[in-house]
């Protein structure tokens, strides 16, 4: 099996690749992990990881800049229906619209928007940075072996918002309840960084490697 980590000039992809390699070893599989922006390589992959750091707008524009990448990802996710795991802004890009810096179109794979975390009276520090506990909202295969209220590592100032309650897999509390894991068919994403969430994060990546849609 081959896993493509999508490289569009955003942040630290080595950490995600290294964490996947360890997850791979932990479950004794021999998946090939590649960091790539090449549509032909992505098309041939079985699963993809869409990372994302920085702003929603910069990330989407970064993807758009690479010839054929948007069409390839849309085809992979919507037509081929192969598994995708979006991390942080990578997950946020699943939304229809992001409101960071200025209104920007996202992939629209999950009906939702991305807006600034509600910081009433400026009582919260932003970014929401550090370890917070997740609240599992339903049984979901990718969280098997991960206990409810496990700690995960977060760093973000914007949140995913959707009325599609059935897509919400986990939330956390930061001032308000924030959606931190979403899923729809072959599409999965987390607001937290599994590659930085120690054992719980590695477990999630192991489950993604094993995931059959």
């Amino acid at each position: 099996m081959s896993i493509a980590i999508i490289d569009y000039g955003s942040g630290n992809l080595r950490s995600a690749a290294k964490a996947l390699e360890v997850a791979n070893k932990n479950i004794n599989t021999n998946s090939k992990i590649v960091i790539t922006s090449d549509p032909t390589v992505i098309k041939k992959s079985n699963k993809i990881i869409l990372p994302g750091q920085g702003s929603f707008r910069d990330c989407y524009l970064g993807i758009k800049k690479i010839n054929g990448l948007i069409d390839t990802l849309n085809d992979f996710v919507l037509v081929q229906k192969k598994p995708i795991f979006g991390i942080c802004v990578g997950m946020q890009l699943f939304a229809k619209i992001g409101y960071e810096s200025e209104e920007t179109k996202g992939f629209g794979w999950i009906d939702g928007i991305v807006k600034k975390i509600n910081n009433i009276n400026k009582t919260l520090k932003l970014p929401h940075m550090g370890w917070n506990q997740i609240e599992l909202k339903k049984d979901f295969l990718l969280f098997s072996g991960i206990e409810n209220k496990s700690h995960m590592y977060f760093v973000h100032s914007y949140e995913f918002s959707t009325k599609k309650k059935d897509c919400i897999v986990a939330t956390t509390n930061y001032g308000n309840s924030i959606i931190v894991a979403i899923a729809k068919d072959n599409i999965f994403g987390t607001q937290f960084h599994p590659e930085k969430s120690q054992k719980n994060g590695l477990k999630l990546l192991e489950n993604f490697l094993k995931w059959e849609v």
């Binding site: 630290n12 940075m129 550090g130």
Partner: protein
């Protein structure tokens, strides 16, 4: 609930761990990759490397240390020391750092904080502030490893850094660093109340109660310490258990 973080810091020179007392008289003690792995296993919430390598030709050694650490530790890694340009930041991020801390260059080149936070995102730009008390309610910024006074007011500076896009402030009291007398709580509290981004308290930890005070009184989001962990006086787990017993939310 978001937990307060405990961050062990390793001062690294030419690829080896050292810890200074008031930034001089360095004592060599260990391999940074191995130390980081131990901290990870003990439950550190993040790891911080401060590169104090003096000569330019040896600066790339830190990249190798970061690469090796990122292969073994799956918790956030902050790296600082001698970061002067967008290129330096990019190289550290590509090597596997999650955040880069900027100290002297944040003072000498304010565009760096603005440009780097726009380019790489605020989440990975930490501004490291070394401050020294000059009178009641007044602290001055020092640069170049705490050697050079700048005449800049620390409180005004942190506000400016926030507005330029810094994602976090790493606040070190020059008066307390290496003394084991505890954080400058007055300074920490003032800065924490002033900015809306997380503040890491640093400089002066001698016992676990100091960590507690940094969070409880200083209102810091995270507490950084070096020698109390590095020389085995306390483990990260002991520190967390202590904070937990005092009602501070920590990840155990």
């Amino acid at each position: 609930m978001l937990k307060n973080r405990i961050i062990p810091c390793l001062d690294v020179k030419n690829g080896r761990v050292v810890k200074g007392i008031n930034f001089v008289d360095l004592v060599d003690a260990g391999n940074p990759v191995e130390q980081a792995k131990i901290y990870d296993e003990q439950g550190a919430d993040e790891i911080c490397f401060l590169d104090i390598t003096a000569s330019n030709e040896n600066r790339n050694i830190i990249l190798d240390t970061v690469i090796k650490t990122a292969e073994k530790c799956f918790i956030p890694l902050t790296v600082g020391g001698g970061v002067r340009s967008l290129e330096d930041i990019r190289n550290l991020l590509l090597a596997g750092a999650d955040k880069v801390s900027i100290n002297t260059a944040a003072v000498s080149n304010k565009n760096l904080v603005k440009e780097s936070s726009e380019k790489f995102g605020s989440q990975c730009i930490v501004v490291a502030v070394d401050a020294k008390k000059i009178s009641d309610n007044k602290w001055e910024i020092f640069t170049h490893g705490g050697k050079k006074p700048t005449g800049i007011d620390a409180l005004k500076f942190v506000e400016k850094m926030e507005s330029l896009g810094a994602g976090e402030i790493l606040l070190t009291s020059m008066d307390r660093d290496g003394t084991k007398k505890g954080y400058d709580l007055d300074l920490t509290k003032k800065v924490s109340n002033l900015v809306n981004i997380p503040v890491i308290a640093s400089g002066g930890v001698g016992n676990l109660e100091h960590l507690h005070q940094g969070i409880k009184i200083g209102k810091a989001s995270a507490v950084l310490a070096a020698s109390i962990f590095h020389f085995g006086e306390y483990s990260i787990l002991e520190a967390k258990q202590y904070l937990d017993s005092k009602g501070i939310p920590v990840r155990i």
